[in-house]
């Protein structure tokens, strides 16, 4: 198994790529200190002469904008929503990890680092993950100081809970709305800087192109979604905090507007896209109910702390779950993984659900669901306690399904939730385009092939509050860079590209709506690049996506005009980019002839059906460069000096 086995038609291999920013140290724990010390500083008076553009106002964007504004830089921030407070970080439910060891249960920075590398199935970079674990501690302090109302105990101290994939309680939470509370904290810090004049905010603006001048990222082209006006904004550096690309699957737990356009446009201008096939399929979502379905709703993974997951032992058992006796139920996670039980990592829980459904033991419409049962928890803790802990989630479930989860078990099924892949960045979070930095879900850096629960909020805030503000100075210290003129050919070209694309969408006047293309792409991705991938399926997917892309550019129907609020036009641009991304995801999945984390290749499994990695061949980051004649693969070797590479076991 080598990647040259008949895959030459899909890509070529280029020179390896390496992170040159992480300093050489005696022990990994000294690395971040050393980098902060070695990074060039910008004195406060000079910061006023430097400008930074930040795209996106989720945890990673709002925190960076607020912090860089506080530091004295001129910040310009963009979001497509009507307020920065609405970015999709707001929907994260469960919690945020931090190695505080407030529970005195053996936690430490090293253990959080270890758990994250292991949870990522040994496909993340040790240096970045260690720094994430170190920074986690400061995040909680910062958020509490902002007035984030974390859950507390009667003594007034912060409460913690445990989460999938770990054996300590290190997750801080605010009922089932942790993302909302953290984002409101970051949003308020951002609004404070807007009021102070340090940040200029543009809501309802979508970034459609990055401006690269003399090899450096120097600005963006954006469209005002209210008026349709196209404008160019120039700066000394650009930060993309534009989130993940799970909506390539059409149905996902992402917000409807989440898209890949900002990062994809940057990719086409030279930024490497790393590990695009690493997708997280979250095990606890409300199953699909019909064709009209527009999105999937996540039920926090914290439910697995007290809920028990099961299916009937018999095939196609359509009895009322309450009438199925104990001995005819299969609590399959507890059976297969006795050490972790219902708390195995997300990728394992999701695939196990798929397997029992493939065995025709699934429940609900189409047999695509498993039970998540709180009957035992209600008996053990009482209904009031369950309600206090999970009430809002139960209410949401009841509203969506019309069923009462206090009385009948919930039905859950896996859904696309998070994308570990993203733009390649070095230790400074700088992409392969100098001056273009990438934070949060938009980059690839910390979660390897699978993200642990409660780690996305941690990474978004680590990047935005603490990492970027201590690395971007190293780049900006060489500035202010030569002023770029609006009439610079590179600026005019970027703007022209945007205008031509919009004119093209509006001129096709075909017969198929944007949504119909998006839905079809989503089906192809889910069937062939979802929970299980095979060479045969991926080849099929690539050829279908290519046909679909051609059809899209010939037959898409975009209503309305360019110079107005036009949601059909907005979606057309996003779907056009998803079509290109989808193809790269399938090529990445095809080339990675191993199973790791969320990427399960049917051809690479153990006798028990568990994911089988091939560390000798695939212990690298696949960083893809956009090429006119197909993608070019640059490998970054992953070296593990601290965590021993092991086949993951949660048994």
């Amino acid at each position: 198994m080598t990647q040259s086995s008949g895959l030459d038609e899909f890509f070529t291999e280029g020179a390896p790529v390496a992170d040159t920013k992480a300093p050489v140290v005696d022990h990994i724990s000294e690395m971040w200190d050393k980098r902060r010390f070695e990074a060039k500083l910008v004195n406060p008076a000079n910061r006023r002469k430097l400008s930074v553009i930040i795209v996106g106002t989720g945890l990673a964007g709002a925190s960076a904008a607020a912090t860089l504004g506080e530091a004295g830089y001129h910040v310009t921030s963009f979001c497509y929503q009507d307020s920065p407070r609405r970015a999709h970080s707001i929907a994260a439910q469960g919690g945020i990890n931090a190695a505080k060891n407030y529970r005195n249960d053996g936690d430490s920075i090293y253990r959080l680092f270890y758990d994250t590398v292991k949870g990522g199935d040994y496909r993340s970079r040790e240096s970045n993950v260690y720094r994430l674990a170190q920074t986690s501690v400061e995040i909680i302090d910062q958020c509490v100081a902002q007035g984030v109302p974390f859950a507390r105990e009667y003594g007034g101290l912060l409460d913690n809970r445990s989460f999938g994939g770990v054996q300590v309680s290190r997750t801080f939470y605010a009922r089932g709305q942790t993302g909302q509370q953290l984002l409101i904290g970051a949003y308020q810090a951002l609004e404070r800087q807007i009021a102070a004049g340090a940040v200029k905010m543009h809501t309802r603006h979508e970034m459609l192109e990055v401006v690269v001048v003399d090899g450096k990222a120097r600005g963006v082209v954006v469209r005002d979604l209210k008026t349709g006006e196209i404008s160019t904004h120039l700066a000394d550096a650009v930060v993309l905090a534009s989130g993940g690309y799970g909506n390539v699957f059409y149905l996902s737990t992402n917000a409807m507007g989440c898209n890949v356009t900002a990062t994809w446009r940057a990719h086409k201008k030279g930024a490497y896209f790393a590990n695009p096939c690493y997708t997280q399929i979250h095990p606890t979502c409300i199953p699909v109910s019909g064709d009209y379905q527009s999105k999937l709703t996540l039920m926090s993974e914290s439910l697995r702390n007290d809920g028990r997951i099961w299916v009937p032992k018999a095939h196609e058992d359509d009895r009322d779950p309450r009438e199925i006796p104990e001995d005819e139920r299969d609590y399959y996670l507890e059976r297969i993984y006795p050490a972790f039980g219902n708390l195995v990592p997300r990728d394992i829980a999701s695939r196990a659900a798929k397997n029992v459904c493939d065995e025709r033991r699934g429940v609900g419409p189409g047999g695509l669901g498993v039970y998540l049962d709180f009957a035992d928890a209600i008996e053990r803790m009482g209904r009031a306690t369950v309600e206090a802990k999970y009430g809002n989630l139960f209410d949401m479930y009841a509203r969506i399904t019309g069923e009462n989860p206090y009385e009948t078990p919930m039905r859950i099924y896996p859904a696309v939730h998070y994308t570990m892949g993203g733009l390649w960045v070095d230790y400074d979070l700088q992409s392969s385009i100098p001056g273009l930095f990438v934070t949060g879900e938009a980059n690839f850096s910390d979660h390897g092939a699978n993200r642990l629960g409660a780690s996305a909020l941690m990474q978004g805030l680590a990047d935005g509050y603490f990492v970027l503000p201590n690395t971007i100075n190293d780049y900006l210290a060489a500035g202010p860079f030569t002023k770029v003129d609006e009439s610079d050919p590179a600026v005019l070209e970027a703007r022209q590209q945007v205008e031509e694309r919009i004119a093209k969408f509006l001129s096709i006047k075909g017969t198929r709506t944007v949504d119909s293309f998006h839905k079809e792409l989503g089906h192809v991705m889910w069937d062939y690049c979802g929970m299980e991938r095979s060479e045969e399926g991926l080849r099929k997917a690539i050829s279908r996506i290519r046909e679909l892309k051609k059809e899209f550019w010939e037959d898409v129907l975009v209503t309305g005009e360019g110079m107005e609020l036009n949601q059909s036009l907005e979606r057309a641009g996003r779907v056009a980019d998803f079509l290109e991304l989808g193809e790269l995801m399938c090529i990445d999945a095809l080339h990675r002839q191993e199973s790791c984390g969320g990427h399960f290749r049917a051809e690479s499994q153990t006798e028990e059906g568990e994911a089988l990695r091939h560390d000798d061949e695939f212990a690298y980051v696949a960083a893809w460069e956009h090429g006119d004649s197909g993608p070019v693969l640059h490998k970054e070797d992953l070296v593990y000096n601290y965590v021993e590479l092991k086949q993951r076991s949660y048994k």
Binding site: S83, A145, A151, R175, S568
Partner: protein, 248 residues
Amino acid sequence: MKINLRVWRQKNPEIDGKMVDYQLDDVSEDMSFLEMLDVLNESLSVSGEEPVAFDHDCREGICGSCGVVINGIAHGPEVTTTCQLHMRSFADGDTIDVEPWRSGSFPVVKDLVVDRSSFDRIIQAGGYVSAPTGTAPDAHATPVPKKDADHAFDAATCIGCGACVAACPNGSAMLFTAAKITHLGLLPQGQPERDSRVIGMVDQHDAEGFGGCTQIGECTAACPKGIPLHTISRLNKDLLGALARGEG
């Protein structure tokens, strides 16, 4: 089921809008209200008409993007966000009026989309704790009684959707403002700026043209997050105290 819709259509702020009738013949009761509008929009697009513009994003009831007046009630007949309202709340053959939030301080952008940037400006006027990144003490340095933390959380669940304004006969945004005053005012971290916060935010509220509060309570009845009316009493108390201390 069959649904008759009457939807507010307005091409842009300069042009007068009007209610337009549409009929949908095959609506499933498991659809969300917004999915029903998606179905309408797909059919409008295919027949070459412009789809209805409406704000929406997370469709989980938490981002606060969506919100329309349904049969005269902000977010419709259930106490929830528009995205979490399902068609099982309606009957076959129903006629449903769909309008944007109605408030002078939320001007219509297009169809059902309104401009709520006034809410951001109210937050800018003091709805924060000044805690620059990196200055925080250890999270356990200041214990917070659970009761206070829980009540602060209850107020902090406001999603900024604007239903309170749409529901209020005075067009007041006092519930939105009071939710933030209460959230931060109950926590030790919010104390140093408590007086300046309430004065600043209320001034901005008034400057945006929102109406005054006369304690009618329509806001809290329409609030998808159940922000209680007594947050407004708390705001009034804080405001009077701050004014008496001469913090204005």
